[in-house]
Amino acid sequence: MGEILSAYFSELCRAMALLAEQPNAMFIGQGVGCAGTTLTDTLPDVPKEKLLEFPVAEDLQMGFSIGMALEGVLPVCIFPRWNFLLCAANQIVNHLDRLPIYSGGGYNPRVIIRVATPITKGFYPGPQHDDDFTEAFRAMLRTVRIVCLRKPSLIVPAYKVAATAPCSTLLVEYTELYGAVPSGVKG
């Protein structure tokens, strides 16, 4: 079990390092440029100049990422929990997802979104932090792909596809598969 958990985490780190090789990639979110969340620990091999520490303003962060993408940046927009990403749902649904439709394909911002579904066994983060809204977002989105990363072997291929896909991708991680992360912060 321990080896599988470790593989999951190391594959996430490898995927982030590969994404960082894209000249236009930028990683944006809270705790990307400093310690703070479990996801922070997956960015050790990303150059500092590609990490944009952002204020806690999820809707602003998502819209900001769309603007970056329209100017040729490949944003990797990170939300540590579904409940936090919910605050960005306005931008995800009304612009990231719908802009390619209502602009007739004229604007097609490509954003990679990372979100984590937390551990609920052993350590309970509470009813405002424990949700998995994957299916709810599947029901709302028409152009953004949702990919669930349930196994280590899926991670790098999924991010490679996301980096070149003609649309935006929302990738769902599961922190119970992280194993022992370097900071010791979990959930």
């Binding site: 819209g63 940046v73 612009h95």
Partner: protein
């Protein structure tokens, strides 16, 4: 483009709507012609313009041909017009364009800073010394350096974000203005203040008085109804 040109265009659209030829919402402009013409005198073709749902005037003033604009409106796109060739992006969501505008401005600033760095490097490398060579020791050609220098001599791109007075009071717009100011981004906020959000008095509903000092703010009285043409149209 004169105020009469703008008014004539909107009247044409109103007639088309009255005839049942536009089967989607429209929000006609009226009363802001003079102010917008003046504002657009400082907006350059390579600048971004982001607007809400009342944007026919903005599109015309940015250079969208009237036939192309009318076709888009007849096709039902008035609420969220987009013309990538003219760098126009609109949205029917209150305040929704503000974060996008900030991201655009951030990317523009990053690119410009990179160009400045490259130009400084070119200067340091004594550009004249390598004229006629393919590339210098660092891979820069003479043409690269001249192109960079020319690019920097152009007026820098900016983002112009037009918001209604109620949108301007929304939380995400306050966040966006704060972030843009804090990071000195090339963006201008223009508040188009007719005092109303549909029929709600903006300032009274918030209990506000006075205007922000860090945005361009103009007041006007909308000479059209919020949406449609003021009477029922049978489609």
């Amino acid at each position: 483009m004169t105020p009469d040109d703008l008014l004539a265009f909107e009247e044409d659209i109103a007639q088309e709507f009255a005839a049942g030829k536009i089967r989607s919402p429209i929000h006609l402009g009226g009363g802001s012609e003079r102010q917008l013409i003046e504002i657009f005198e400082t907006i350059k073709p390579h600048d971004w313009v982001l607007c809400g749902w009342r944007s026919h005037y903005h599109c015309l003033l940015k250079g969208v041909p009237r036939d192309q604009l009318k076709a888009a409106i007849l096709a039902g796109h008035s609420v969220s017009l987009c013309f990538p060739a003219h760098r126009i992006l609109c949205s029917g969501i209150v305040g929704g364009i503000a974060p996008i505008a900030v991201g655009l401005a951030w990317a523009i600033k990053q690119r410009r800073e990179a160009a400045v760095e490259a130009a400084n490097y070119a200067y340091d490398s004594h550009i004249d010394a390598i004229e006629g060579q393919d590339v210098d020791a660092h891979g820069y050609s003479y043409d690269d350096m001249v192109a960079t220098s020319n690019k920097l001599s152009d007026a820098p791109e900016r983002v112009h974000c037009f918001l209604g007075d109620m949108s301007a009071e929304s939380g995400v717009v306050h966040e966006a203005v704060k972030y843009a100011a804090g990071h000195d981004l090339p963006i201008r906020w223009i508040i188009e203040d007719n005092g109303l959000s549909v029929c709600t008095a903006t300032k009274a509903s918030w209990g506000l008085s006075g205007d922000r000092a860090d945005v361009t703010h103009y007041q006007y009285t909308l000479s059209r109804p919020h949406a449609g043409i003021g009477r029922w149209v049978k489609f």
